[in-house]
Symmetry: C2
Subunit: 526 residues, 2 copies
């Protein structure tokens, strides 16, 4: 089967006159076929279908929605090499990485299917009637969480599978019971088409309503802006640049009816090297650091862009070892020409802002990134806050602190982060303890003795953090807790059993985890 370049509006494929093409970043060449760009008419139909599908889709039993997610996973796997080969062409990411990313994508879909069956997301609560209470009786009062409505999902450039058309945001929203309208990332429309086919096939196979999924492609940001402004969209999931995220937040806040935006925007992921760890294993830390920094050409939200340590011999050795490791890194192609251009600018800015260039990897061909390591004193950083802004790519800044106090104050001045990392050995424990309260306030995830890249998809993961790491620090975009972004609580007071939603009825309630008069009950999930 060849790609057709069509849009997927509900179950229907359609073409438009306006076309665009993906670019092979390794060669700078346009790839076939040309893809239809969605316009106002396609957006209108997709949103109308999503709204029309909403009640029907959200009222499907959790088990049915779980089967839908599992069918998407199967359909993606069934595409085999076609999908991987196209993703490789469009992103220059190695096939091994894409194979791993596909496994993660499929794993996420299956994990949310499992989570649907476990039922924690329903948040069920029952307060029983108190007919004899004085001065007034209490009615039976029950609570469940329901889907918030159609969700706009923005595909991310750096995870063409795991955070794109059927990625983490889509899986969480579909699990919650929300139809999705996906704004595909224009850098990988072919990958998006393959995945869209998988979703459409799975929806047909499991009898889901047509409007549960649409894919809108297009090269212009105006399409995404119009999607977020559409009154039928009730929440937004986005992973991308700070400028992009802020623009969507503004549109969402200024709507007649404001909606939540879950934008994951920028983070420099500070790593603190504590003295004993630095003294005892500085050389291996340096190698691990460079491996984390240059993984995927540094194109991760959790890339370690800032390293803090007390100055001294230990840090000096670390710097030398890291510099040597970095210089040995082979040049690699970035995701897009635009990302590469911004990266080059960011590295230049670090120089002009006064950071000292410690090491740089060799130059490569078109669209390649040269990994770069800079250093600055904590004192200078106070006057050069722009140095603590994200440079998306394999560049990092080492901050030399004179005292523990200066180290802590540097951390306090940082903006919100996705992660903060401590490299520590046993004697560092008191200092780690001293920094912990600050790190908790600054980051969504605190990592000890490993590196922030490589985000586990599990129950306890938080891939989120205070603004501007994300638009909404109450949330995570990775892990099962991510489903809560697309739910809202509804209370049912005085309902006869037959009128209650199924999960709250006498026959089904005992099967689900819930709180009964405040007391936790396990439920016996089917």
């Amino acid at each position: 089967m060849a790609l057709t370049g069509e849009l997927f509006i509900g179950r229907r494929r359609t073409s438009t006159a306006q076309r665009f093409q993906a670019i092979d970043p390794a060669r700078g060449e346009a790839l076939l076929p040309a893809f239809s760009a969605a316009g106002t008419a396609e957006l209108e139909t997709a949103c109308a279908l999503a709204e029309a599908a909403f009640d029907s889709y959200r009222s499907r039993p959790p088990q049915r929605r779980a089967e839908f997610l599992e069918a998407i996973a199967e359909q993606i796997l069934a595409q085999g090499e076609d999908l991987l080969a196209r993703a490789h062409l469009e992103t220059a990411l190695p096939l091994a990485r894409l194979t791993g990313e596909r496994a993660r994508t499929v794993g996420q879909l299956r994990l949310f299917a499992e989570e649907l069956r476990a039922g924690e997301w329903l948040g069920l609560r029952v307060d029983s009637a108190l007919a004899q209470r004085a001065p007034a009786p209490r009615a039976d009062i029950r609570l469940r969480k329901i889907a918030c409505g159609p969700v706009a999902v923005f595909g991310a450039s750096n995870f063409p599978l795991a955070f794109s058309v059927a990625g983490g945001d889509s899986a969480a929203a579909l699990a919650a019971g929300c139809p999705i309208v996906v704004k595909g990332h224009p850098a990988h429309p072919g990958t998006s088409e393959w995945v869209a086919r998988a979703i459409v096939a799975a929806a047909a196979e499991t009898d889901m309503p047509a409007g549960v999924f649409s894919l809108l492609n297009g090269p212009d940001t105006a399409l995404g802006a119009a999607l977020v402004a559409d009154a039928r969209i009730r929440a937004v999931a986005f992973t991308g640049s700070r400028a992009g995220g802020l623009a969507l937040m503004k549109i969402a806040a200024e709507r007649p009816e404001p909606i939540p935006v879950y934008a994951e925007m920028s983070s420099i992921n500070p790593v603190v090297l504590l003295p004993a760890a630095l003294a005892g294993r500085g050389a291996s830390l340096a190698r691990e650091f460079v491996a984390s920094l240059t993984l995927g050409v540094g194109q991760f939200c959790t890339n370690p862009g800032l390293v803090l340590a007390l100055g001294g011999e230990g840090l000096q050795s670390f710097i030398e070892a890291a510099g040597a490791a970095l210089e040995a890194v082979s040049p690699a192609v970035m995701l897009t020409e635009g990302i590469q251009r911004n990266y080059v600018r960011g590295v230049e800015r670090m120089g002009t802002e006064g950071a000292e260039l410690l090491a740089q990897s060799s130059a490569g061909d078109q669209n390649c990134a040269r990994a770069a390591l800079f250093s600055v004193t904590a004192e200078s950083l106070v006057h050069r806050p722009r140095l603590a802004e994200e440079t998306f790519g394999p560049a990092s800044l080492i901050v030399r602190c004179r005292t523990v106090r200066e180290l802590r104050e540097t951390l306090e001045r940082l903006e919100g982060q996705l992660t903060a990392t401590l490299q520590m050995d046993a004697p560092d424990q008191p200092l780690a303890q001293e920094l912990l309260a600050t790190l908790e306030r600054k980051a969504g995830r605190i990592v000890v003795n490993s590196w922030p890249t490589g985000v586990e998809v599990c129950h306890a993961m938080v891939h989120g953090g205070p603004f501007p790491a994300t638009a909404d620090g109450r949330s995570t975009s990775v892990g099962t807790l991510a489903i809560e972004r697309f739910l809202r609580p509804v209370c049912y007071q005085g309902f006869a059993d037959a009128l209650l939603p199924p999960e709250l009825r006498a026959d089904e309630l005992p099967h689900w985890p819930h709180r009964f008069d405040g007391e936790r009950r396990l439920g016996r999930a089917e």
Copy 2:
């Protein structure tokens, strides 16, 4: 002890040159003493103290914070008649109502204390290490929720105790571990001073940090605006007018670091009278309706401001009985002269917008409200959407629908609501079922066969709802779920046991409810 009119900034009392006085709404007379109005200096100190107290307060064991909440409850009760008498003077609310409201206030504080000990709010999750996993091992990953930071709480005019200085928002924020800076409502500064004394005494008694609580009074909205704009404030809780809530949302969204606003703003709380119920018990429904409408002079967020029914004999009888009951209602004084003036305007607007006046209660003295009942056809309402805006006070609009379809479409056109109510008998079940999906999308709480006023404080309560009922439909301001508004998740990856926060350590974890590798465990709360 007499009132002093001072501000409470942390533990210190202070006075300012700018003064204002409360007005007795029943007599229109200024009440003594004059109260200090907070300015920039007091705001600055309160926010600085709150920020300084944050880490210390949030790291208190839940049991200690529970004791603080319970001590506040005790201190409020210990003030006896002084508090109630002043609240009566400032609000014209009857002493019996205020006694009940004090019980609710104390009950809320105690419920949150209990909830702190139950530990559900911690949201604990553990994914255990997988050292042997290929291709890469998994670290131990744990999650807990922590307080979001200092919270600005706005006292509400209509609940001088239960949604003011130590009301539901304060109890939830303090339980979560957030210091609070309260903007007292200018209509009841004396009541606020009494309650502030109780909190300050309780904080001293239970050894809480000074900045855990401040009370800023002032007659100008600029004070509240400055509070929300302050970078140290991390969330806002507000109950009041739509204009006020929207203004705060705008300020919060335009900050360099946007913050969540939990504003409960306006709701007309539609009540649907289904045919069998109307035919079988129209007269008693009419009496109950008027009682709910005029309770507390209609000054409740959940006041039934819209009644929908199919036209016909049943509705005609209901209207006649409701009109007769309404005309028998005694005039009563509203909370403030401003509220009364707005109410009179709202009632006038209903007339000029074309609603038919069915009945009105007799006129009273200064600041009294005349309860009013209007009617309109569903068809006219389409062209007069302003009729579906809230008129805060004892006015309601009956909407006559010709068909079930018209009834459903009228509901679909409504904005987000705190509540929606169905009055139904057994034969109405299919129709109720048909309307349910719409009501779930429109309201936070659906009530069957009682009335929306009288909000239970319990675990399954949702006092929230889609915009513009609230700023954030994912939340509730009443009930134990309200604590979630002030929490955010933090993930701890690869931590040694000793470095973990207490609740996640091996010795304490089994005592708390948690999920272990996804599986729910009860915990054995101490």
